[in-house]
């Protein structure tokens, strides 16, 4: 179906380079989850294309062939039970197969996040996003959704030493090739975490932690996080930058933020060593 529109779009938009490679104008896919979804879309597309062309060709053929012609009366028939059984059974089998196959992919996407995942707390509010990364200890400070308030944006415990170590950011920076496990929160109304290039949508519900979303980016690049659940006046512009970077760049970024956070000047060599060890660990984990 989308094929018809491709020439128009390619001709009219010079920047549409990365969309021209597929028939549906999909944005580039940069996660392992997305690859599974894209192949399912392709499969359903061809199934629908075949059904559509077959039924519509037959339909149009009938519409032309059986137009009113003088001296040719309509055929008197109230139906055919054999046909009814066939066209009830066949779609049932096809649709059930699709549901079962789709749910296997669904389960696979939502299996537990790997141990080595980078855990990021993502918190949506009217109208923006806050991210929280683990501090130097490598652990996120524990939080409680009931403690979330305008003063305590993440609902963490101020008395916990981990809390002051947490790295707060307005952009989502993630390493390529390492699983990223998101803890999704909303501070006021329902928001949603939507990144078309990740093929990922999940509502963030106030009063709850949605902890089953994880993914692994397959290449670096700059993207945008969008809220895709109508959340008020500023909804249309509730976005945040996403940078998928190499593990080294990520560690450099995180360590510099941790350092700034801690407010303690550490010897440069120590930071380098720490970054190297983290990178090594991450690299091992991704294997």
């Amino acid at each position: 179906m989308g094929m018809l529109l491709v020439p128009f779009l390619v001709a009219s938009s010079a920047t549409a380079e990365q969309r021209s490679g597929n028939v549906y104008l999909l944005p580039p896919c940069v996660t392992t989850v997305g690859e599974q979804i894209d192949s399912l879309i392709t499969m359903i597309f061809w199934l629908c294309a075949v059904i559509f062309v077959a039924t519509q060709a037959t339909y149009i053929y009938y519409l032309i062939k059986y137009r009113r012609r003088p001296g040719v009366p309509a055929h008197y028939s109230h139906g055919n039970n054999t046909l009814e059984v066939i066209w009830t059974t066949a779609p049932t089998l096809v649709f059930l197969a699709l549901a079962i196959y789709g749910n296997r992919v669904w389960e696979n996407i939502h299996r537990a996040a790997p141990e080595n995942s980078l855990v990021v707390d993502v918190s949506g509010y009217q109208f923006g996003w806050d991210m929280r990364y683990p501090g130097v200890s490598g652990k996120l400070a524990p939080m409680d959704v009931r403690k979330i308030s305008p003063e305590n944006r993440f609902g963490t415990d101020p008395g916990n030493p981990l809390t002051s170590q947490d790295v707060i950011s307005n952009e989502l920076v993630i390493p390529v090739g390492r699983p990223v496990h998101l803890l999704l929160h909303a501070r006021d109304v329902i928001h949603s975490f939507y990144v078309p290039e990740f093929r990922l949508y999940q509502d963030c519900v106030p009063g709850r932690t949605i902890g089953w979303v994880w993914f692994q980016a397959t290449r670096t690049g700059d993207f945008q996080l969008a809220c895709n659940q109508l959340c008020g006046t500023g909804h249309y512009n509730m976005k945040a930058p996403i940078r998928v970077v190499t593990e080294e760049e990520f560690q450099k970024w995180l360590v510099s933020r941790q350092q700034k956070n801690a407010g303690v000047a550490q010897p440069a060599a120590a930071i380098q060593a720490k970054a190297a060890s983290l990178t090594g660990a991450a690299a091992k984990n991704t294997l």
Binding site: L9, I37, F52, H78, G79, F95, L98, I190, L230, Y236
Partner: protein, 590 residues
């Protein structure tokens, strides 16, 4: 059952002298318990709302194609809460348009047209009854509807303005004043839906009672025309679904005004409770909007193909299956809402299964035209197009029924394309077909054929131009309900497609002109219609215009099923339901 129907319908006719007919002047049109006049009241009101809701859609399309540019012409007529001084839509105003367009088109256009107009007009005439079972309740149903429309539109003029929380009004955005900034407008919105629900319920009670108790002798359930079956089943869905919406809306009113927190997590409420309640109503609602359209289309296809409906009983059972399954698929709106993931998987199975009865209906429509003698009239053109548009809308539904695909296309323009193919390409096309088809019976006049064809071709071409590219916008990652797609880098390159959709929408808006003009001039100038212009078999065509109050001078007796066309051995190619087949003719069982 038909034995008791006999006595009942006679009894009803005997009391038919006190229903407000004979009243002169304005009151004849304002308070009239004749089901035919009530149908006209619904028709006029719904067309009025169609123009308002449609204009809102064109305004939104303008904003999406040319964000921030003042809207020509329409911009100056929109309330100041929606547009700025220059006549360009503000983001908050866009949210209001999104909300009110959806609300108006669902509750004040599609439902009254399908159920209020054709339910009222066709049920008594088609089953051989004198009126509805409860004529005064019927008129009350219309006035509750009108009141709900006034309350809904009043929200534009209260402090804070109309709500901008979407027709789905997800809590806690809708239920907490600090979040939506429009507590008064939201309260009026909920109140309007509550009153509108009462209107639907009183109507539904009436339809069900009428169909069960007032059928003419010989009119067994399986001899009823398919529009009657469809609206009867729809009425059952209404009775089961509407109270849930009413209750849920009442809880929002409590949360907003009485300090309760049913949906607010800070007060131990549950935001997802609203979604479960709303969609428990909202999914049957989708079938409430398509079942009558299916029934109307089946009949128009049969009449104009001069062939019996293919698989009449399969059609009825498919509608019953849709009605039942429609209550166990609501979770497919919530795959990615934070609902339990296994529940999502379960709902995807029931959702795939509900596609089956729709497929059965499509195959039977194709079977109906197969080896027919197709008369291409204006209503037939809309019905033929209905089938194709419904197929597209059904197939795009398969994408979203699949849980992993929904993870990507949820809340994108893909879903906007999908439900417009079902609700416009489906329901609205069927409504247009039915308005043209029964216009001669409702008014005693023929419509203007040329204007009808102009209306059809403009609607068909511009509808597809508007909504087909939205599939690609959605797969391209464009979110629904955003006032300005150009704020996102990845959407800017899709902007030419948005312009195409907008050109289509403007054309679709213009297509309404020949429709409305046709209705108006045909009422005054058109030639008188013969009693049965389409050579149709059902009972309403046995009456000539004007149909008296109480409809049938003598209660008709029904001898066979509703669609006996082209029966071999008959001189004419149709056999009305109240005419016995001659001895030498054998009717096929259906």
């Amino acid at each position: 059952m038909s034995a008791s129907a006999t006595t009942d319908s006679h009894a009803v006719q005997a009391t038919h002298d006190d229903h407000g007919h004979g009243k002169k002047g304005l009151m004849h049109y304002l308070w009239n318990t004749d089901h035919k006049m009530i149908a006209m009241q619904f028709l006029v009101s719904a067309v009025f709302f169609l123009l308002i809701g449609g204009a809102m859609a064109v305004a939104m399309r303008w904003q999406l194609a040319f964000p921030g540019h003042p809207i020509p012409v329409i911009g100056h007529f929109l309330p100041s809460g929606i547009v700025n001084d220059e006549g360009a839509i503000m983001p908050s105003g866009y949210n209001v348009l999104v909300t009110m367009h959806g609300t108006i088109l669902v509750f004040f256009v599609a439902m009254p047209l399908l159920i209020g107009v054709f339910g009222n007009f066709l049920i008594p005439l088609k089953i051989g009854a004198g009126d509805m079972a409860f004529p005064a309740l019927n008129e009350l149903s219309y006035w509750l509807f009108a009141l709900s429309g006034v309350v809904m539109m009043a929200s534009f003029w209260v402090p804070g303005g109309a709500p901008g929380t979407g027709w789905t009004a997800y809590a806690p955005l809708s239920s907490v004043a600090a979040y939506n900034q429009t507590p008064l407008g939201q309260t009026l919105w909920c109140t309007a839906l509550f009153i509108n629900g009462l209107s639907s319920l009183t109507g539904a009670v009436n339809y069900i009672t009428t169909v069960i108790t007032m059928r003419a002798p010989g009119m067994t359930m399986f001899r009823m025309p398919l529009p009657v079956w469809a609206i009867f089943l729809t009425a059952i869905l209404l009775i089961l679904a509407i109270p849930v919406l009413s209750a849920a809306a009442a809880l929002i009113i409590f949360d907003l005004n009485l300090g309760t927190s049913f949906y607010r997590p800070a007060g131990a409420g549950q935001p997802l409770l609203w979604q479960h309640l709303f969609w428990f109503f909202g999914h049957p609602e989708v079938y409430i909007l398509i079942l009558p359209a299916m029934g109307l289309t089946s009949e128009i296809l049969s009449v104009n193909s001069r062939k019996p409906v293919f698989g009449y009983k399969a059609m009825v059972w498919a509608m019953i299956a849709i009605g039942f399954l429609g209550f166990i698929v609501w979770g497919h709106h919530m795959y990615v809402s934070g609902m339990n993931l296994t529940l999502s998987a379960a709902f995807s199975v029931s959702t795939m299964v509900i596609a089956v009865p729709s497929a059965i209906k499509t195959f039977n429509w194709m079977g109906t035209i197969w080896r027919g003698s197709i008369h291409y009239t204006v209503p037939m053109a809309f019905s033929v197009a209905f089938v194709s548009m419904f197929v597209i809308g059904g197939l795009s539904g398969i994408f979203m029924a699949s849980t992993p695909v929904d993870l990507f296309v949820h809340h994108t323009y893909f879903i906007v394309a999908h439900f417009h193919y079902v609700l416009f390409g489906g329901s609205m096309f069927a409504i247009f077909a039915a308005v043209y088809f029964w216009f001669p019976k409702m008014t005693g006049r023929m419509f203007n054929n040329t204007l009808g064809w102009i209306h059809f071709w403009m609607t068909f071409v511009f509808f597809n131009l508007t909504f087909f590219p939205m599939h690609n916008l959605g797969l391209g990652g464009m979110m629904r309900r955003i006032a300005d797609p150009t704020v996102y880098d990845c959407l800017r390159q899709l902007q030419p497609l948005n312009v195409v959709c907008t050109i289509g929408a403007i054309g679709l808006g213009l297509a309404t002109i020949p429709f409305v003009v046709n209705l108006l001039i045909s009422l005054r100038k058109a030639p008188d219609a013969p009693a049965n212009p389409w050579n149709s078999t059902t009972l309403e065509w046995t009456l000539s215009h004007p149909i008296q109050h109480g409809n049938f001078a003598v209660t008709p007796t029904v001898y066979h099923g509703p669609y006996e066309y082209s029966v071999p051995g008959l001189a004419k190619d149709f056999l009305p339901q109240n005419e016995k087949a001659p001895a030498h003719v054998t009717l096929e069982a259906h």
